[in-house]
Amino acid sequence: MSDLIHIDYEKIAADYMESLTTMLRNFQSSGHRFLETWVPDKDDSRSILGMIEAAKDDEVAGIAIHLGQATLARIDSEKLKQAAARFGTLSTFPSGDGLELSLAFLAADGSRIVTAEGTGFGQQAAAVSRRESSAAAEKRKESHPVVLNKGTNPLYSHGLQQAAESRSHEGSLLAKDPLPRVEITVEGLTLSALVDPERNILRKAAYSGADSENLHGLLETLCRFIEGRPLIECHDHSVIFVEYHLRDHSFAPPVPGIVTPENADPMFALPTRLVRELFAEYCRKTGFNNLKNQHDQPISEAWKALSSEERVERISEEVSAHPSGKGMLVLRMESPKRVIVGFAENVKPGAKQGLLIAVEDHLQRTLDRTLQLYVDPKVDQNKRRLREASAI
């Protein structure tokens, strides 16, 4: 690990900000060439990931970043570690009052490491039935490592790469299956589905015709998402989910305003066409024409299996372990999806919104993706209504 470049993140960031007002020309960040392209972000996690990205792009062997207490208090270090691991081989260890984050970008033989650390799909990926055995998948990966197309949007490259590693949905569905099969072909790509005609739920999906890793990643993700869902839900929202799950949320969103699959990246036009034409084909074949979509995303089997007390316990553990959860108290569960929390008095009102979003996101990633955080409501003060209610 002696080839690692050692960086004190807080010092580098502070020097950079100072230089903005003390330098006029030949502005550059101190020390290393890769830092010439690095610009800090007000979000420390993004700032650190940007530094790692710059180092990797400059083809250095590796980087060791020291994060002090002040930085660690502002970030979700577990989330940062997950995101950082996408760039190389990660190791972390305590260093002084903080943490050292080491990334090796070169393997022992000197080759560049191609990584695909698993995040993103979580429970959903685990629930997908694999058609390809793990041994076969490993063999295929060894002979054909996933290399994404040139020009792939970096925001989606990790998600696509990870999804493309499995080919569990590539192929065609067997005609002997008792469920009716629906199939459409768009631009040489075929999407097939077996649909439960009683409940109009898509039970199995498969694709064929993909000729690039990007397409494999995209269509694997689509197929994983649509399986088990009502066909109308697939039509209405599947690509919103696909875009959201493939996106690397460690970085800024793809557009400054409202993100939709259509404005996020042109690649999402294809799955949109596929699911919409599949739905139309199903309607043509069966006469189905109910456009009402009241699909409610179910909780996972694992979450369902826990008692209410166990859920509160698990949530409390996760909340207290998360940096944004300091000063947050789990009060109760209103339902298996809804968690009611309160705040210690020293938490500033203006900070609560961001803390709630961060902790909710953490709970969705670690426990169940349907979990929602709410605060104890302020109560109705209408005396007349309260009087009437008490009289009933």
Binding site: I232, D236, G257, T260, R276, A280, N289, Y374, P377, N382
Partner: protein, 385 residues
């Protein structure tokens, strides 16, 4: 077999009565296609309309008041705060500001200066009020600066007015006189302001439907509208949406009282929706946001309560509105509503202010409608979508 309805396109369906001068039961978003296109491209668009209040306080005690469910940390919106807010709104491209929800804005010392300054800045200004504290002088001051003034008036007789709206019955007489004065000032000065009366109808108050429509015919505002009552996700107000179905005959009779200069309008689309939504994502908030009478900026009034703190973006009492609007926090919350994390069917109350805008945008995103410039004349109050 030809493809069924779900994938067939149809032309813009923002309102069945889009050729009418007033659109009270639809959305006017179709007349703002440039902003819809910018939204679609992922740009940070300014809201077209901001609905807000200058205070959370109210001198009435209506039994159906949704604002009672919206409690949050109070702060005082001063005239100075409003002057800055109006300038920011005009600068970023807001078109209309309505002082309607969450509290009785006429109780605030900032009320008249806000109406007048907003109008000076080129913003369309509007107001929803119980109209109790008005007098002729105040009406003379504000009516020239208003696009519309709507009086909340949920009964047709003196005694029932007092019961339903939680006030002394004699307040009915004062408000009736204020409406007569509004119309007299409007006619005398030939003002473009539209004066309306609005009944929020709880099914159990159906006995007041016809008296309300008849009272309107006597007072002669430009229109009288009858609408459903919104409820929160827990159903705290106990609105029985299925009971509206029994009131159709009465509502049609009320509509039949319309004449050439007085229009009785029933918000049928929301009444017939029975409190349900056809969509799960909320795309409407960036076009139409709401600000509580505490200064709290949130995507929607239904999310004002402290319970929904994760959606609370900022407060105009503490921070300039243009900074709040430009913040990542603002767009993080707006994106949350458009993301798979949010389900308006399960996480919102019934029939919000953004409902018709949401329906339109959701249909568009699902390929069920096209974005076309609407045919027919431009409706009135176009800045209030």
């Amino acid at each position: 077999m030809s493809p069924p309805a779900p994938i067939s396109h149809k032309t813009l369906n923002i309102s069945e009565d889009h050729t009418a001068k007033l659109i009270l039961d639809g959305t006017k978003l179709g007349w703002h296609l440039e902003r819809v296109r910018a939204w679609e491209r992922g740009e940070r668009i300014a809201p077209i309309t901001i609905d807000m209040a200058l205070t959370r306080a109210c001198n009435y005690g209506c039994s159906f008041c949704y604002a009672m469910l919206q409690e949050n940390e109070r702060a005082v919106i001063t005239t100075d705060v409003m002057m800055g807010f109006l300038e920011d709104s005009a600068e970023i491209g807001v078109r209309g500001i309505s002082l309607v929800s969450d509290g009785e804005s006429t109780l605030s010392p900032a009320f008249i200066p806000t109406i007048q300054r907003g109008h000076e800045l080129g913003l369309s200004m509007a107001c929803g009020t119980n109209a109790f504290v008005f007098n002729r002088r105040k009406l003379e001051e504000i009516l020239p600066s208003l696009t519309y003034l709507r009086v909340n008036f949920s009964a047709g007789t003196r005694e029932r007015y007092g019961q339903i709206m939680g006030v002394k019955p004699e307040w009915f007489d004062r408000v009736c006189q204020n409406i007569r004065d509004m119309m007299e000032i409007k006619r005398r000065n030939n003002l473009p302001v539209t004066i309306g009366m609005q009944m929020v109808l709880m099914p159990q108050d159906a006995d007041q439907i016809l008296p309300f429509a008849q009272l309107g015919k006597e007072l002669r505002p430009d229109y009288a509208v009858i609408k459903h009552c919104s409820d929160n996700e827990a159903g705290s107000l106990g609105v029985n949406y299925s009971a509206y179905g029994c009131l159709h005959d009465l509502l049609h009779q009320a509509e039949a009282l319309s004449d050439a200069e007085y229009q009785v309008v029933v918000k049928w689309s929301k009444i017939e929706a029975k409190g349900t939504r056809s969509y799960q994502r909320c795309y409407g908030a960036p076009f139409l946001i709401q600000i509580s009478g505490s200064g709290l900026v949130a995507p929607c009034g239904m999310l004002f309560n402290e319970r929904y703190k994760k959606f609370h973006i900022g407060n105009i009492v503490e921070e300039r509105f243009k900074d709040i609007w430009a913040s990542d926090r603002y767009w993080e919350v707006m994106n949350y509503l458009a993301s798979p994390k949010f389900d308006a069917q399960k996480m919102c109350g019934a029939l919000c202010l953004q409902h018709k805008v949401n329906e339109f945008l959701d249909d568009y995103k699902k390929d069920r409608t096209d974005l076309l410039q609407p045919a027919g004349p431009e409706p009135m109050h176009i800045d209030f979508i």
